[in-house]
């Protein structure tokens, strides 16, 4: 997969993709913020400050950042339940995210949604979904609306490996291809649907080849290689925006934390988790490339990590100081 096969060096690739140092550093820093958000979420849970559950995306940062930087800020996003990284990379306000995570009135959804349902309609972020695959068919309506209103956005629809076995996955791919809708489908394969290894639940891999059945161009790529995600998403977005219909990208990645708070990781080995952390970590890999190409110094990575942590700590302080929702408002927002 990926870089071993290509002779191209990191520097050559950066030049070919016309990415500035500023852009590369923004990508690196954003991955750090996502990682620190997830580590803090885990810590807050351990401290008993989180009322509900959470699905953390540590280890999957390159997918979120590669996708968001390859597409436009005003493109539409349909997200899955492990969605913190995608919100952060779509330039969410971290303070409001943390408020939502902690159930505060100032949160994106006024504390009614929580970790699994963060949305920001003002930035075309149409929300995360607690139902596996539940958001996939919404892409059809978003795509149709984009066509009818003659807008030039695309709809990025992200779901996990588990969602690819839901019926709506197939229904939706069929219709999206039929109607040439402007949608980028991204299957963020983190190897496990809760406890089920993707190999135990998929008759044929990669998942992306299922798109072939609907005549949709597909790619199966290393989701922990930031620039590979960026390049494939950028090319796909251009093709989609030009009116050529949907594209399907499967990004192979790995989640470090368990599925949710109840997960004791009984279905995978500590060695497996460690191997991914030490040899395939997206932040480590991209950081090493930046160091090797002389764009940052080795000690800079720690500085960026600290900066990211400060942002998250400030968000926690902001959320801690924010009021809880008033119980008398519990029945508000049922109807518009």
């Amino acid at each position: 997969m990926g870089e071993e096969q290509k002779k191209e060096t990191f520097t050559e690739k950066v030049e070919r993709l016309k990415l500035s140092t500023e852009e590369l550093l923004d990508m690196y820093k954003t991955m750090c913020v996502i990682r620190q958000f997830e580590l803090m979420a885990d810590k807050l849970y351990a401290l008993g400050k989180v009322h509900g559950t959470m699905h953390l995306s540590a280890g999957q940062e390159a997918v979120a950042v590669g996708l968001s930087r390859a597409t436009r800020v005003d493109d539409y996003l349909i997200n899955h339940h492990r969605g913190h990284g995608h919100f952060i990379s779509k330039q969410a306000n971290i303070n409001l995210m943390m408020c939502e995570f902690l159930g505060k009135e100032a949160g994106y959804c006024k504390g009614r949604g929580g970790s699994m349902h963060i949305a920001d309609f003002s930035s075309n972020n149409l929300g995360a979904n607690g139902i596996v695959g539940g958001g996939i068919p919404h892409s059809l309506g978003v795509g149709l609306a984009i066509q009818m209103k003659k807008m030039d956005q695309i709809c990025i629809t992200i779901f996990g490996d588990g969602a690819s076995n839901e019926g709506v996955f197939h229904e939706t791919l069929n219709m999206a291809a039929l109607w040439k809708l402007p949608i980028l489908y991204v299957c963020e394969n983190n190897k496990y649907g809760m406890s089920m290894d993707v190999e135990r639940v998929s008759a044929k891999l990669p998942i992306a080849q299922r798109a072939e059945a609907y005549g949709i161009p597909w790619h199966y790529i290393d989701g922990n290689d930031l620039l590979s995600v960026y390049e494939h998403a950028r090319d796909a977005a251009e093709r989609i925006r030009s009116g050529n219909g949907p594209v399907f990208i499967e990004t192979q990645t790995y989640r470090y934390f368990g599925h949710s708070k109840s997960d004791r990781n009984l279905y995978r080995s500590k060695e497996e988790i460690e191997t991914w952390k030490t040899t395939k970590d997206p932040i480590l890999r991209f950081g090493n490339h930046l160091i090797e190409s002389g764009l940052i110094k080795p000690q800079d990575t720690e500085v960026y990590e600290q900066e990211a942590l400060s942002i998250i700590e400030a968000a926690v302080a902001f959320a801690d100081a924010s009021p809880e929702p008033d119980p008398s408002t519990v029945t508000e927002y049922v109807y518009a």
Binding site: G141, V168, E171, M175, E332
Partner: protein, 328 residues
Amino acid sequence: MPEITYNEAIRSALREEMRRDERVFIIGEDIGRYGGAFGVTTGMLDEFGEKRIIETPISEPSIIGAAVGAALLGMRPVAEIMFMDFTLLTLDQIGNQAAKMHYMFGGKAVVPMVVRMPGGSGTGAAAQHSQSLETLLMHLPGLKVVTPSTPYDAKGLLLTAIRDLNPVCFIEHKLLYKTKGEVPEGEYTIPFGVADIKREGTDLTIVSNGIMVHKALAVADRLAKEGINVEIIDPRTLVPLDSETIINSVVKTGKLLVIHEACETAGWAGEIMAVVSSSRAFDYLDTPMRRLTGKNVPIPYNRILERAAVPQEEDIEREIRAILNGAY
């Protein structure tokens, strides 16, 4: 006022609203050249074209999902689910997605969409094409549930449904499609949450919807010749429910009979009785409240069995007489 059918009234609402508002489109199965399984969208493809009369594969969950997505972007989708029974295929999209988005996103998502669904028995279509599932939908906060019984109500309520900012389940009874009634030309709307007193009376309050309103009316007309005056209230929208009109009527008559085709267990008759029994009308009741509903069975195919599964005029007459004779 011209007389048109229930079917034509629905088409007229769709057509007028699509002419008025370019955000409105219809999505569903066989709604183009075929005109929909019950012919409601007949001729609309010619006027509006396939970009606004969107025919889909047989993929009900994603039809509703597509409507949700379009509604989130400010469109006004009207989805047609060929038979209400197929709504069960779509419950995630209706119940977990459409119904909950406004709330779970803190009031920031708006999902203005209509799902039209023909329900009810009487066509020999048996267990999977004959159900009355309105209670299932009433139990999901975030949805509005509309069950028009006349062409006039169908048109006025559908215009309101399309303009409403929430997901609206619009339940049409199959046996009503060919019934006729007076419908004014041009635009008029009927607000949600306003019941219609289909017949005024003093002796007994009947609350009913859909086809059962017509059966109750026929019985009431016959009983009127004997001097029995039955009041018939059609809530028209079950969510939101016009409790006040029902309560006022029971205060007047002192007797309540709720009639619906849907199954008895946890059916909405129980909800109406709960509303009345916890209101000031309770003190005015002079007999126990009663319900006459579909039996707790799947709708059978055989004509005699199918009739026996849901209330018929003779059942309604018998029940009214029993209540008035103090049988309970």
